[in-house]
């Protein structure tokens, strides 16, 4: 694993705009960064891929345990909601995708930081933008990236089951350029698989007492949402999901993956697993050590603190900090000239299908971190 500096393509911003990637600056800071790339060897990529597939299986076993032992209060989940989650799981509601975040230094095994299984973003840049970059820059090198093919395939696969191609509503809260773009990309994958797509801001979804409706008052029976389940269930229409009979992706059971209490349950079930870090509900096992404090429902690095000897040595504020926390052992991320990479491994259903590297000068990766393309040889 190496970080190699390289001059960006002459017209790089035009090149990526052509792909429809228009949020390459976030809050004025360059987000897409092709002035460097990461190079891996095939053994490293194999190791990353195997880690994601293995940890995904562990997560599924942890979900089984949460549901069979009704560990909802431990996760800060209302038991009534727990019943719906259990139904979603027992009905084997299908999933599309998710993103693991791993720390990997090119030597030891990748270590799971968290599983963004409900509302992952940075998808388009991983799937399309870095692939386009590879084709122009390193046509002879490989890239761990069959995300697009897998996504289209996954959508097609759902048609064999309870989904139909007539109408799929893709939704998120607007205006949020990054999130809108992510759902449009997901929608275009579904379109390629044969679905008719309607994009509708989530605020505009209607309820007529029987079904959800679009702006033409037509029923909505299939939804892909990029909107956290824990928000949905707390909102006025949340209670209508079940009576509506509509199908929602990602499925409700994924609320158990994006909840960071999962990390403590994983460690309890599979202690010393090489891809897991010790994680507890209480910081006392880390006395005298460095550890990370994460809100159970946080996203994008918000409200994460790194603590050493009782002092915060680094933190990121945000709006997720008023609930339960988990405490995870801190390990030093690799440092390439002051850049700290974080490996996002994309899961298409149950299969690791690609990777995106984001890096930050800070120890905490957030939605403002830079996306840097990768290749492997």
């Amino acid at each position: 694993m190496k970080r190699i500096k390289i001059s960006p393509r002459t017209n790089w911003s035009a090149d990526i705009e052509k792909l429809g990637f228009d949020f390459y600056h976030i809050d004025g800071v360059p987000y897409w960064n092709e002035s460097a790339y990461y190079e891996f060897n095939a053994a490293e990529i194999d190791m990353i891929e195997a880690a994601a597939n293995a940890v995904h299986r562990l997560c599924l076993r942890a979900i089984e345990r949460i549901i069979s032992e009704r560990l909802y209060p431990f996760m800060g989940i209302d038991p009534d909601l727990g019943k719906l989650i259990a139904q979603s799981w027992e009905n084997r509601e299908p999933a599309i995708y998710g993103r693991f975040d791993f720390l990997y230094d090119g030597e030891g095994p990748p270590k799971l930081l968290e599983y963004n299984a409900d509302t992952p973003t940075s998808l388009f840049e991983a799937s399309i933008v870095q692939w386009d970059w590879r084709q122009q820059r390193f046509p002879d090198a490989d890239q761990f990236n069959s995300i697009h093919e897998h996504l289209v395939d996954r959508w097609r696969h759902l048609l064999v089951g309870r989904y139909n191609a007539d109408k799929l509503v893709v939704t998120t809260a607007t205006p949020m350029p990054e999130d809108e773009h992510t759902v449009q990309y997901i929608g275009s994958c579904a379109e390629q698989a044969g679905y008719k797509i309607k994009f509708l801001p989530i605020q505009m979804i209607g309820w007529n007492g029987i079904t959800f409706t679009d702006l033409d008052e037509q029923p909505i029976m299939q939804v892909f949402k990029l909107y956290p389940w824990e928000w949905i269930v707390g909102e006025d229409f949340g209670k209508n999901i079940k009576p509506s009979g509509s199908l929602w992706l990602e499925p409700l059971w994924k609320i158990l993956c994006s909840n960071k209490s999962l990390l403590t349950i994983l460690w309890d079930m599979f202690p010393e697993h090489e891809n897991l870090l010790p994680a507890y509900r209480d910081p006392s096992p880390f006395a005298g050590k460095k550890y990370v404090k994460k809100p159970v429902l946080g996203r994008e690095g918000a409200n994460i603190q790194i603590i050493e000897s009782g002092c915060i040595i680094e933190k990121r504020d945000g709006s997720y900090g008023d609930g339960l926390y988990v405490y995870q052992e801190f390990i030093e991320p690799p440092n390439f000239d002051g850049n700290r990479p974080n490996i996002g491994v994309w899961m298409c259903n149950d299969t690791a299908c690609g990777m995106g590297v984001r890096e930050d000068g800070s120890l905490i990766i957030s939605n403002g971190s830079r996306f840097v393309p990768h290749i492997f040889k």
């Binding site: 429809g20 509302t119 973003t121 998120t172 809260a173 607007t174 205006p175 949020m176 350029p177 999130d179 809108e180 449009q184 797509i197 309607k198 994009f199 509708l200 801001p201 989530i202 605020q203 505009m204 979804i205 209607g206 309820w207 007529n208 007492g209 029987i210 959800f212 409706t213 702006l215 008052e217 990029l226 909107y227 928000w231 949905i232 707390g234 909102e235 006025d236 229409f237 949340g238 209508n240 209480d282 006392s284 404090k293 996203r299 994008e300 409200n303 603190q305 603590i307 009782g310 002092c311 680094e314 933190k315 990121r316 504020d317 709006s319 900090g321 405490y327 800070s362 905490i364 939605n367």
Partner: protein
């Protein structure tokens, strides 16, 4: 109280407290982590008095918790200090800093604690603890919400929903006959022109109520 423990707590908190050196112009209360910091804005005597006043108040009224867990739940692991007394051990938050009580209209000198991202003086929530920088070292501010309402809530964007323009435009066409904007509640302020109560949901088959989703976004990304 064991003085060395307290001092260690304060030394540790220099790291925790704050961001900028410059006070925010308005609606901001400055919290000082040390007399030295205070001296930039006030004369030394007043700072000394303020620090001592706050410390006395802190020793008298610091919230006591029987277990570390309780204290950590409220103030965070980073802030909790063990205390030993003849009546038993307990845990309490370190003083994050002190403030000179202009905001309250009286010259009281109060210790300040940080709880779940909000700065508190006693039971008064001063506002959202602001530290947008990552490696903050000195000086902290809280920004007091307009009207100083203690019930802080995430601010909602009042922007009207605007279609992104990237989707097929037909799906954004205003709906034909239905009345829209049928929800208040959590979605208030997000792009609805005429909120009404959920009870006004029309009979089946008629116009749909809308706005029952989306209220939680409050201007933050739903992805991650």
């Amino acid at each position: 109280m064991n003085k060395s423990v307290l001092l260690a707590g304060i030394a540790a908190l220099v790291l925790l407290v704050g961001c900028d050196d410059k006070p925010k112009p308005e609606n901001a209360v400055k919290i000082y982590a040390s007399i030295d910091e205070c001296k930039a804005d006030h004369d030394e005597q007043e700072c000394q008095k303020a620090f001592e006043g706050a410390q006395t108040e802190h020793e008298k009224s610091v919230p006591r918790h029987a277990t570390l867990g309780e204290c950590v739940d409220r103030y965070g692991a980073d802030a909790c200090i063990p205390h030993h007394s003849s009546s038993g051990d307990w845990f309490g938050p370190a003083m994050a800093g002190f403030m000179i009580g202009h905001m309250l209209g009286t010259p009281s000198y109060q210790p300040v604690y940080i709880q779940h991202g909000y700065a508190y003086s006693g039971s008064n929530q001063l506002g959202s603890w602001r530290s947008t920088c990552v490696s903050c070292r000195t000086g902290g501010f809280v920004t007091v919400p307009a009207g100083s309402s203690p019930a802080w809530s995430r601010s909602y964007s009042t922007t009207t929903i605007t279609p992104s323009g990237r989707g097929p435009s037909a799906t954004y066409a205003p709906a034909p006959a239905s009345t829209r904007g049928g929800f208040g509640g959590s979605a208030s302020g997000i792009g609805k022109s005429s909120p009404s109560a959920p009870s006004s949901v029309a009979s089946p088959g008629a116009a749909s109520a809308r706005g029952g989703f989306g209220g939680s976004a409050a201007g933050s990304s739903a992805g991650g």
